[in-house]
Amino acid sequence: MTGTSELRLDGNAIGGLLLELFGAELTAAPCICAGCGAREEMARLDVYVGAGIVVRCRHCESVMLRVVKGRGHTWLDLSGAASLELG
């Protein structure tokens, strides 16, 4: 696991970042974990904030989404999410 419990937030914390990346409000967007198949709104997922952003499933703790920003670029890894409902 990454970091201490104080660094663990939830999907509300990245609502602005997701708005910037996807152009839509996504904190209420249903996401399906590729690891265990659980379906939860983005706001109900565990978010770890460090050098980058790591979003984990609240059920199986698999990494569902990763965002790293730096040097004018943004890297988005969605390989752990089976789906993300954009509305």
Binding site: S5, E6, L7, R8, L9, D10, G11, N12, A13, G15, G16, L19, E20, E25, L26, T27, A28, E41, M42, A43, R44, V49
Partner: protein, 220 residues
């Protein structure tokens, strides 16, 4: 602690419980960005209440230095999950730790603004009486189905009649709506606070789906 009113061009309007991001850019290009809950009810303009954190990168500026007319970069409104619009008649339980009361106060204001009859209880946990925010305003909203309950966890003034301990299952059992009423629940505060409150509510028989949480980190 300071409440700032922001004039945001083309503001699309917001919902009670939403937040916005403030980004500051230094002369050398360094940027710092933080999220702040919107304190005002929908239709009231945009206000944020900022708690000053000594080692913060954004809050010291907003609390100590920002002057009327200063310009900051704002992104928002943000959030479609931790929101309460006032059109749901189910009982509402709001649980806030420290400045986590900010989005919950917006919900209480929204209740009054739209004339909602949904029974609403607000449980606020603060360290000391000096840390209590919106006390007078929330007291003024009380009645007519809205109730405010305070707990002071670190010290209490003489004659204090509220609770004097951290939120625990026993305190929640005293205050929270009985589980059969299927209340809507909003919990906002630090991760530790939110986890403790949510666990306590689950012990009372609350369904995890009723409990909406918003955790914030002390990065200021």
């Amino acid at each position: 602690m300071r409440t700032l009113e922001l004039e945001v061009p083309n503001w699309a309007g917001h919902r009670a419980g939403q937040h916005l991001d403030v980004r500051l850019t230094a002369e050398d290009g360094y940027q710092a960005e933080r999220s702040y809950s919107i304190a005002s009810a929908p239709g009231e303009g945009v206000a944020i209440t900022v708690e000053r954190l000594d080692d913060g990168e954004v809050s010291p500026y907003l609390v100590d230095e920002a002057r009327e007319g200063d310009r900051v970069e704002v992104r928002g409104p943000i959030g479609g999950y931790f929101v309460w619009d006032g059109d749901d008649p189910q009982p509402v339980l709001l649980v806030g730790g420290g400045s986590g009361v900010v989005p919950l106060a917006a919900m209480a204001r929204q209740r009054a603004r739209v004339g909602s009859t949904a029974p609403m209880k607000l449980l606020v946990s603060s360290r000391t009486i000096e840390d209590l925010i919106y006390r007078d305003e929330l007291d003024a909203l009380a009645g007519n189905g809205f109730e405010v309950v305070h707990t002071l966890t670190r010290s209490q003034p003489p004659g204090w009649t509220g609770y004097s301990r951290r939120i625990d299952p026993g305190l929640l059992a005293d205050v929270a709506w009985p589980a059969p009423e299927s209340p809507r629940v909003y919990v906002c505060g630090s991760t530790r606070f939110v986890d403790a409150a949510a666990d306590g509510l689950l012990q009372l028989g609350y369904d995890a789906r009723w409990i909406r949480t918003e955790r914030f980190g002390a990065t200021g």
